[in-house]
Symmetry: C2
Amino acid sequence: MDYQDEKKARTQHVNAVIRDYMPTDAEFQKTLLEAMRYSIDAGGKRLRPIMLECTCQMYHGTGTIAGPFMAAIEMIHTSSLIHDDLPALDNDAMRRGRKTTHKVYGEAMAILAGDALMNYAYETACKAFSMAKPDQAASVAEALRVLSTKSGIYGMLGGQSCDVECEGRGLTEGQVEFINRYKTSALIEASLMIGGILAGAPEEDIRMLEEVGNKTGLAFQIMDDILDVTGSEAVLGKPVGSDVRNRKTTFVSLFGVSAAKARVELLSAQAMETFDHLSAKHDFLRCMLEELARRNR
Amino acid sequence: MDYQDEKKARTQHVNAVIRDYMPTDAEFQKTLLEAMRYSIDAGGKRLRPIMLECTCQMYHGTGTIAGPFMAAIEMIHTSSLIHDDLPALDNDAMRRGRKTTHKVYGEAMAILAGDALMNYAYETACKAFSMAKPDQAASVAEALRVLSTKSGIYGMLGGQSCDVECEGRGLTEGQVEFINRYKTSALIEASLMIGGILAGAPEEDIRMLEEVGNKTGLAFQIMDDILDVTGSEAVLGKPVGSDVRNRKTTFVSLFGVSAAKARVELLSAQAMETFDHLSAKHDFLRCMLEELARRNR
């Protein structure tokens, strides 16, 4: 199968896994579940669950206990998008070519839907305990630890808070890197690490997977900032120019587009070098990480 | 020790436990941590962690692995208060006698602080795995499952969403009970159940603890609605009359104050009866549950 076909097949498979783990039973909380589903169904590339599953397969993990974590990491990612789009934060009306959650369900329900998706991510990840063989329980616990750490104040949410606090102010390169590392890289690191952990990969590999995720995420975010300057709404499915409009300091605003592109190249090359030192191989995952870091050049 | 002294000592102990588990290290996410601490330090009665620890002790649990869960349940509770107070939801400026989080840190930071407290609750609860003896790991996993379920769409958040959706509309008794059961009882149920689970209490007792929590929570919520009509801001530390102002249907608005008081009595009596059927005893916890259900009569 060529890369594009495999990506399509994997995306469909991941969509089915996520759908299986989404809640359906509702009494008087129907609208909440609808708002959660609306946001999850908006699509997106499902990068994190695909990466998680690939890494698990790379170390010959069975994949069964990966399912709940694949759904969970997409729920946490989506939760952060819902809250990020709120009027008090980025105030975005469109995302992935359609109305954002608060534009459809109102602010109160969007706040709760974000909360509920984050909480349901942990509820879902916990299901892996009942699916795990006795010798896998410790790996599930470790995966849960990584998931929560990388999503929290020393991960995604820490990055978001710095991003919010620094908006409209001049930032140093260090602060921009902090935001990118936590806001974007953290969940990519978590995806790769959790896949490895659940499959029983060597500890040294987990450390290297973290580094691969970190570099890939940084490259991805800088590319995102580049596209916000050079891209078009039609291609991206979201408004461009929002960084300038919000006076956000990015790697691009600090050093310009061509320096940013060179940084993307460097980070991507470093990520690939570390990836090639892992004790296992996975051609599709390698292509995907490379595409991710360098998309739309 | 008499009841009031014991309650004071237990509250101080719980405050120390929560403080120990709150995050301190920060680089560029200092304000987020400050907002989280501001909300946690606002105090409150720490009912949930105290109940959790008492139930654990009631079944001769060591209490060590209860610590992370005591902190976690208070973090989740506090997270819900921060988001509940937001302008898009209850729009409350005061809570526990001081400014609400968004009034001090702004809406964006309050949204993120609520998210961060919820996520950190799971990060904290996960710490129990590394503290657990080998034969306790399954109990920690089960406690995590209960914590996430009771906090989510089939618990606290499900209740909040129904509450938000139904605001200003006439509700049936069934809908009011749904809101109270999920919004208020769920975390009280979780506290009692988790304490029992971590101590290895019999399954039948866990089921009864859930019922005790359910009835106590319902009584507590109806009492809260009564006090919103009959109480004063000086005593409660928060504005009264908000239910009428927001045209909220409560048990009180449906059936009046004296029927509501009778319901509180009935629920409280039922909770105590079930409590007395448990295979273990705990005098302080019994007093506390009774006080909770019938406070300020």
